[in-house]
């Protein structure tokens, strides 16, 4: 275990305004779609209008005669060479894993699947020519519902596989030795709460549509892509296409949001790669929003069958989770593993002794699902936090009280959980106390009582959500044990230029998170170099040859440690140089306040800075024997554990019982994400995360009709909230430093999304409990709330 090093007040912890902003607010941003190369051609993709059909004929010959068209081809033309899109997470040995061709060959299995392409001199010509491609589809029966898909006589998404079941994955605390047998726990229960919750299908809906440019130059291929994972993409392109890895360069330039939605190796990237190779020219593809909503991976879409066992004093004894997880028609890069990330989080902040989790992955004729902000953890947190409220109601206890009776005390860390993790740290009491005070919990409860008593048609509801999550994906040995194909380390390089300016190369790949700013703050403190003198380079495999990119709240939690370690190595390499310059022995030196000084010398004594050492090794005229003329350093760090931020979110809703309209009256978030590097950025992450969680609770759902057509295929129907839909929130923090992180940081990217959905739904149900309502199906639109009030959705 690393000790948290106390550091003097400096850059870390300061609300630095972001370096990234300068280009973003002036329109000088390098989006992939902004890239224009000499001789560049444009790609358009013909997508299947049917959810399931045999493709009996594709004729591109007429398209080839259209003006400006350079080439056109279909899946059949590249069937032998296009390979299969990768899934890096075969969660069980016997997982059913169908091929996933970038271009459909004989069969399409979801609406929007790519069928054929045109490459032309400009975008309009390419899109126009799509109309000249003839495709004959022979419709096949569709299967959309997960339970129907698992029935014995089900229609099959992949006929050759003989089943729609992808896998069943089980965790049992009794078998794993992490707790008791769950059946015994239920046998001793005085109360059992049994519920089914639906995690509706969501769409990440990053604002920048996906875009890719592929430039084949000689035998080198450069891919610019709006991706979260340039490094993983490079490896996968090499593996899928057979192109030697050193002949592939991937660049993620400025990327406009991801939220997990750009954690993918996409059909479009591989198709553009094929097209560019075919024409020997640079090719660009940028999706429309409609294409994006239809074909970029979706998220969530789970059915949760839950049973919570407890004693009448509120002590929880055990939890059974039976999960159906919709894979969609194919497997994306981590599709099967997403629900498993939730498997470790259903026990949340509680210390109940028995737990069993069974997840079945199911194929349907829908767009592939994969990571979306939180990836498994929001679903798990929603389930347990809803159940805790239901238990509280059953036992007539306050929802805060039921949590107090079950949570892990701050003096019980590190805590080995029933799901097999070791929580490093936390203080749930402190976060909750602070949240209750900021919220005015008692006053709101009093108001609620009086409004109930007076029969106010607008009822007040209070929702509690106490959460923890696992950040910092991930210890490589844990990923290995879960059969994930890659590791979870991260890497950083620090290069000190002759003039003392510093270049930092990171293996993380930011797309809105502000790494350029936060990483500069970290390095500034470590090396004693001004914030302005540091440049952070990322997202280009030519500059940053190794890395595992940005997702799972891992960049600071893992990449930040690699960065700190690289800085430490820089200091170590500079030490003999400084000793030489100061004409003293290495052992007499100490590095503090940005300079090496002879130990015991006053802090204002002349010392040698890292910049001095960098210039000395640049000249290198009189370096002692054996001293390498460089102070540059690399470090790669593999975490020993996850980090576990936590917090308490409280939401007050006003629910109009006559119209079903829900208004968020107040929202308080108290998060403990460990030591904060930049409060401005942390606050932004909380705001945005909470907004997306509220969006799941109140607004968003991807809906298919009975034929498998996506009904929410534009921003008219897929209702991403606007400024008038969302409230101002009050956010505050506690700081329990992460003991395993030299900076004490934990991670914040997903916390808000994980916490807020159950807070909102708990508040709505709380408002309506006197009316007999015990559940609301998400999103809780006025219609759904009104139906619930009519008794339609009581469970």
């Amino acid at each position: 275990m690393t000790t948290v090093q106390e550091r003097p007040a400096g850059e870390v912890g300061a609300a630095r305004k972001r370096k990234e902003d300068a280009r973003l607010i002036t329109g000088r941003t390098m989006w992939t779609e902004n890239i224009t190369l000499p001789g560049m051609l444009h790609l358009a993709i013909l997508r299947s209008p049917m959810a399931h059909a045999r493709v009996t004929r594709v004729d591109t010959s007429a398209a080839l005669r259209e003006p400006g068209v350079v080439t056109a081809f279909s899946g059949r033309d590249v069937a032998d060479t296009q390979g299969s899109l990768p899934c890096a997470w075969p969660v069980t040995e016997d997982m059913v894993h169908p091929d996933h061709p970038p271009l459909a060959v004989d069969e399409v299995r979801h609406a929007g699947e790519a069928v054929a392409v045109v490459v032309a001199r400009d975008r309009a010509s390419a899109v126009d020519a799509l109309a000249s491609i003839e495709v004959d589809y022979e419709p096949l029966p569709v299967v959309l519902d997960m339970e129907e898909a698992l029935a014995e006589d089900a229609r099959l998404v992949h006929a050759d596989k003989g089943t729609n079941k992808a896998y069943t994955w089980v965790f049992d605390s009794g078998e794993a030795g992490t707790g008791q047998a769950v059946d015994a726990a239920f046998a001793g229960a005085e109360v059992v709460i049994k519920r089914r919750y639906i995690q509706q299908r969501l769409i990440p809906a990053f604002m920048e549509p996906r875009s890719v440019v592929v430039d084949p130059t000689g035998d080198q291929h450069t891919i610019w892509s709006a991706t979260q994972i340039p490094h993983i993409l490079r490896v996968m392109v090499a593996l899928v296409t057979g192109m030697p890895e050193h002949k592939v360069r991937v660049v993620a330039p400025d990327v406009g949001g991801g939220f997990g939605g750009k954690l993918q190796v996409t059909a479009e990237e591989l198709i553009a790669f094929m097209a560019a190779q075919r024409v020997g020219k640079p090719v660009k593809y940028t999706e429309t929003r409609s294409d994006s909503l239809l074909s970029a991976h979706h998220g969530r879409d789970q059915i949760q069958d839950l049973e919570l066992a407890a004693r009448r004093d509120g002590t929880v004894l055990g939890l059974r989770v039976n999960l159906l997880a919709n894979m969609g028609a194919y497997l994306g890069i981590v599709t099967p593993g997403v629900p498993l990330l939730g498997a470790f989080m259903y026990n949340a902040i509680y210390k109940f002794p028995a737990y069993r989790f069974v997840c079945t992955g199911v194929y349907t004729n829908t767009t592939t699902t994969d990571a979306y902000r939180g990836a498994g953890r929001p679903e798990a947190t929603y389930a347990i936090e809803r159940l805790m409220d239901e238990l509280a109601a059953e036992l007539d206890l306050d929802p805060v009280e039921i949590r107090r009776r079950n949570w892990i005390g701050h003096d019980e860390f590190p805590f080995d959980t029933v799901a097999g993790l070791t929580y490093d740290s936390g203080n749930y009491e402190a976060a909750t106390d602070k949240a209750l005070a900021l919220f005015g919990y008692e006053e709101l409860r009093a108001e609620q009582a009086s409004r109930r008593a007076s029969g106010d048609p607008v009822q007040l509801g209070i929702g509690v959500s106490t959460y923890t999550e696992m950040c910092g994906l991930a210890p490589s040995r844990v990923l290995g044990a879960l059969r994930y194909a890659a590791g979870g380390w991260e890497t950083a390089s620090v290069r000190v230029l002759p003039t003392g300016k510093v270049e930092v190369v990171t293996g993380t790949s930011p797309h809105g998170q502000g790494h350029e700013t936060a990483w500069s703050q970290i390095v500034a403190d470590r090396l004693g170099v001004p914030f302005e003198d540091i440049e952070v380079l990322h997202g280009d495999t030519r500059t940053s040859h190794k890395g595992l990119d940005t997702y799972g709240s891992r960049s600071l939690a893992v990449g930040g440690i690699a960065l700190v370690n690289a800085c430490t190595k820089v200091i170590d390499k500079a030490r003999p140089v400084a000793a030489h310059l100061l004409e003293c022995d290495v052992s007499d030196l100490e590095f503090a306040d940005g300079a090496f000084r002879v130990r015991g010398a006053p802090s204002d004594a002349a010392g040698k800075t890292i910049a001095d050492c960098a210039f000395a090794v640049f000249a290198a005229h009189d370096m002692p024997d054996g001293v390498e003329p460089s102070v540059d350093a690399d470090a790669t760090y593999d975490p020993g554990n996850f980090s576990f931020p936590h917090g308490t979110h409280l939401c007050a809703t006003e629910v109009d019982t006559e119209t079903g309209r829900v208004t968020i009256r107040s929202y308080v978030a108290v998060d403990d994400v460990g030591r904060v590097i930049n409060p401005l950025i942390v606050e932004g992450q909380v705001h945005g995360g909470v907004a997306q969680g509220i969006a799941q609770a109140l607004f968003e759902e991807a809906v298919y009709d009975s034929e498998g057509n996506l009904l929410t295929g534009t921003f008219i129907d897929y209702t991403v909230p606007s400024a008038v839909d969302l409230p101002d929130i009050v956010s505050d923090r506690n700081e329990t430093p992460a003991p395993d992180h030299p900076l004490g940081a934990k991670g914040v990217g997903e916390a808000g999304t994980i916490a807020s959905t159950p807070a909102v739904i708990n508040a709505i149900v709380d408002a309506l409990r006197p009316y007999g309502v015990r559940d609301i199906r998400m999103p809780a639109t006025p219609e759904r709330v009104w139906q619930a009030l009519q008794g339609g959705a009581r469970s």
């Binding site: 305004k17 990234e20 607010i25 329109g27 309009a124 606050e683 606007s722 008038v724």
Partner: protein
Amino acid sequence: MTRISITVDGIRYDDDVEARTLLVHHLRDRLGKVGTVVGCDTSNCGACTVLMAPSAPSEATAERASQGAQRPTSGAERAAEQLSRAGAAVKSCNVLAVQADGTEITTIEGLAGGDGSLHPVQQAFHDRHALQCGFCTPGMILAAVDLLTENPDPSDTQIREGIEGNLCRCTGYQNIVHAVRDAATALRGAEVAEPASAVDGQMPGTPQAPPAVPSEPESVPVEAVPRPVP
């Protein structure tokens, strides 16, 4: 093909365009104004928002007659001319390029001063961390400029309503609302304190700005909104 003449960020462009070409595609693909981005295809997201102001009719006619000859207007005259009328925010995916004939467009690239100093709304977005990935930002900033031209002292609710047509997925809007509120204060302060500095594109107001002077919305001239200096 139709011949159109559009002034974008102070530079006049004469081009032949297809009747179906959208203004946003004309700006991006033809004029290289890639600061303006496309986020959807149904006019919902507002990422492509620009400011559009009609030229004086006589002038447009005169220009047409002169067959694209460069207008002999000095930089100072042009700046004054721009200040004399505020552009309205339009979603440039919802305007055909031919419809923009004869108009003056301000994009995110033309909002800062000629010396690179930020417009108060840009500065406030930076100061308030009102952007994360930044994709919606150009449109959001221009929508906010338009809002503040219409209503120099909006309430938070009015700000939220004013930017309702611009979607942001990263921020939850809270910091955007605060940034617009700050920019409103800075712009009103600029008007009272030294409007000339705002015209020069220097940052007025923050944080030494004089306290906002309550003023009749109608009384605030559009000069308070700094315009690009060519």
